[in-house]
């Protein structure tokens, strides 16, 4: 894999001047992934923060060909682009060379409204990488709940009310759903661990067929956190084992990072304004229940480490 020095020497394909928030997890994720191949890349983005923040006409932050068509269809759109590439290459109408196709979507555009298009594209086996930047909510439209929102988090559609203390459901395990499609490569990553993220992106872009990466993306706006704490929070999501780093390569699962000391879940919750209400004495059970669930899921994952899944 590339060293940090090599990575930093590569041309920036996602430039500064974009309008994503200070402390947003998305730009480092995108920049690192776009550096993970030397082949030309064509990208698509689902409607969301990344799309809105990077291409306000007549400006664009993308130095590569890029298309956004709608919210729920990034996987279908990139299917079309990738198919056109095969069709035109076969007919000799474009240069005969390797190209990479990447679709970016938030958790709204991926876990929820875009899951059908994603599932279809994975099943058909297009040669592309789908990257979900998971900030746990519809942040672009003002912090509404998604199926990736952590349980108990307050959002504008799952507020912490007098009767209902935030989101009532455990988040959907999208990576597991994707793994069930038996694609050549799927992984979870986090931008604070650049080496792990970059290595996974390299692998994902190298395999023939569909690849998927689910990447933790801190959101100061929606999490009610300080911009400068984003990478710390990303690390805590991993060290609490809420967001385990693992990959499934050709059917074999491997946990790529095991924290030396598993941190208590509440260490991740505490700095985030969206969990303020769970620290009221009457809501203490929410932290306990979450911790139990995390412990269970982490153990399940460890049980599968190194195994064919």
């Amino acid at each position: 894999m590339a060293t940090l020095k090599e990575l930093s020497a590569k041309k920036e394909l996602f430039t500064g001047g974009h309008r994503l928030c200070s402390g947003c997890g998305i730009p480092p994720i995108v920049r690192l992934i776009l550096r993970s191949t030397d082949s030309p890349i064509v990208a698509t983005t689902a409607t969301g923060c990344l799309e809105v923040g990077s291409t306000i006409y007549p400006y664009t932050a993308w130095r590569i060909p890029w298309i956004h068509s709608a919210f729920e269809n990034a996987a279908a759109t990139i299917s079309g682009v990738e198919t056109a590439y095969r069709a035109l290459r076969k007919r000799g109408r474009i240069p005969d060379r390797d190209m990479k196709f990447i679709a970016f979507g938030g958790d709204g555009g991926t876990y929820d409204i875009g899951i059908q298009a994603l599932s279809g594209a994975l099943e058909r086996g297009h040669d592309f990488l789908y990257v979900c930047y998971d900030n746990g909510g519809y942040m672009n439209t003002g912090i509404q709940r998604s199926s990736a929102t952590p349980m108990a988090a307050a959002t504008t559609t799952s507020p912490a009310g007098d009767v209902i203390p935030g989101k009532q459901n455990w988040r959907k395990d999208l990576t597991k759903i994707v793994v069930a499609h038996d694609i050549p490569y799927a992984a979870q990553a986090s931008p604070h661990n650049w080496a792990d993220l970059s290595k996974k992106a390299e692998k994902a872009l190298k395999v023939k067929g569909a690849a998927f990466m689910n990447v933790m993306s801190p959101c100061p706006l929606g999490w009610y956190t300080k911009p400068e704490d984003s990478m710390k929070l990303a690390k805590l999501s991993v060290d609490t084992c809420y967001w385990p780093l693992y990959e499934v390569e050709n059917g074999v699962l491997r946990v790529t990072y095991k924290p030396k000391e598993k941190r208590p879940f509440e260490e991740w919750l505490k700095p985030q304004g969206r969990f303020k209400h769970v620290f009221k004495p009457e809501n203490a059970h929410l932290i306990e229940e979450s911790q139990k669930r995390i412990d269970l899921e982490w153990q399940r994952l460890l049980d599968l480490d190194g195994k064919r899944v």
Binding site: Y57, W66, H68, T83, A84, Q116
Partner: protein
């Protein structure tokens, strides 16, 4: 299994003719999802792909929304792209129809007209494409299998014309045209290729040396200019439709215009109607002419853009007109065709009386006697100058 057709006269269903036409075009990419009554287009075309009869890459998408999304991705990438659908499928594509036209992607789609749910119904009416009439697509309507087949090639030329670059929809009637076998004259592959020509991609995504951005966020300062350019482009399509229709006639002996008229020149009463029901109406007109009634017909072929001036000129001498809509806009004020035609006639000093009649929804039969009944009504309007009912459902 796909049919093996040969140049010259042959007998085909509408769906087989379209699949065969697509084979002759041999597009780069086709992304389609099967739906009654257009299913055979997807089936037969995939047979051509499976047999290596085309070089097309066929994407078996999981929905019509993804079909149009993949078409958009492929077209923006620089490919010649075709698809087909009907009814609920077109409805599911709705969002993406506007994206395709807004991005000025020359995708060509056959829409086999079928009713929309609810109640669910698989038979013919025009609710599907009429609902999409303002999605920024060129719409060509076809009376027969032959016209559907011929329109497919013309749609491609019109959509891809650099003065236009707007997606185009070819519509014909579900089951009546899609499943009925008609004698048609096929073109040779060379004739088709010579007519549609090579595809020229404009600003393709796959040109990585010259990266482009499709689908940027355009706000108050620019959105309206994009829409203005789109509006200008679809307006220009009218001239291109005429040009291409004439060239088609010159090459293959079947010329097409903006609309077809039948015994309209000296008509006192006329019906305006789309697609296959025009044939039934023509039979009624022949019968009525035998009785001395000056009945005529106008069948729009190009519905979007709407050739308002040409249509109103062609109809201005008629005393009473019935616009027969196979779709209701549920406005309580007549069908879409009625509203467009009536609005087009407003500029005339002496305007004909114009009524709206809704027929044939969900595949309800429209027979010669039903057409005659409409003409009887028109005769009465002509005589009395009085319109009793501006809008009415017939055959219920």
């Amino acid at each position: 299994m796909a049919i093996t057709a040969i140049k010259g006269k042959t007998a085909l269903t509408g769906n087989s003719a379209i699949a065969y036409g697509m084979k002759q075009i041999n597009p780069d990419v086709c992304a389609a999802y099967p739906i009654t009554p257009s299913t055979q287009i997807a089936e037969e075309f995939s047979s051509y792909v499976a047999d290596g009869a085309v070089q097309t890459e066929y994407v078996t998408v999981e929905s019509e929304h993804s079909a149009m999304s993949a078409c958009i991705g492929a077209s923006a990438a620089g490919a010649r792209v075709m698809t087909a659908t009907s009814s609920q499928g077109l409805a599911l594509m709705w969002e993406m129809l506007y994206v395709a036209s807004g991005m000025r992607l020359p995708i060509v789609m056959t829409n086999v007209n079928r009713a929309l749910s609810a109640p669910i119904n698989i038979h013919c009416d025009h609710s599907d494409s009429m609902g999409a009439r303002d999605a920024g697509w060129i719409q060509l309507y076809s009376e027969t299998v032959q016209e559907g087949y011929d329109n497919l090639f013309q749609a491609m030329r019109i959509a891809e014309d650099l003065r236009v670059r707007i997606p185009a929809m070819v519509c014909f009637d579900g089951f009546i045209t899609s499943h009925a076998i008609e004698n048609i004259e096929l073109l040779s592959d060379e004739e088709v290729q010579g007519f549609v020509g090579e595809f020229k991609a404009v600003n393709p995504l796959l040109d990585v040396e010259r990266p482009v951005t499709y689908g940027a966020l355009s706000l108050q300062d620019t959105y309206m200019e994009f829409k203005y350019q789109q509006s200008q482009a679809i307006s220009r399509a009218k001239e291109v439709v005429i040009e291409v229709g004439k060239e088609f006639g010159k090459r293959f002996g079947r010329e097409y215009g903006l609309f077809e008229t039948y015994k309209l020149d000296d008509a006192d009463v006329a019906v305006v109607i789309l697609n296959s029901a025009a044939g039934t109406t023509k039979v009624a007109i022949d019968e009525l002419r035998g009785k001395g009634i000056k009945a005529g017909l106008l069948r729009p072929r190009l519905y979007r853009p709407f050739p308002a001036v040409e249509l109103s000129n062609a109809l201005k001498h008629v005393k009473a007109i019935a616009c027969l809509d196979r779709a209701d806009s549920m406005s309580g004020f007549g069908g879409p065709l009625f509203n467009d035609i009536r609005s087009a006639m407003y500029e005339l000093e002496a305007r004909p009386k114009i009524i709206s009649r809704i027929y044939g929804l969900g595949g309800r039969d429209y027979k010669v006697r039903d057409a005659i009944a409409v003409f009887d009504e028109l005769e009465n309007v002509k005589k009395t100058g009085v319109v009793d009912e501006l809008m009415k459902y017939i055959t219920i």
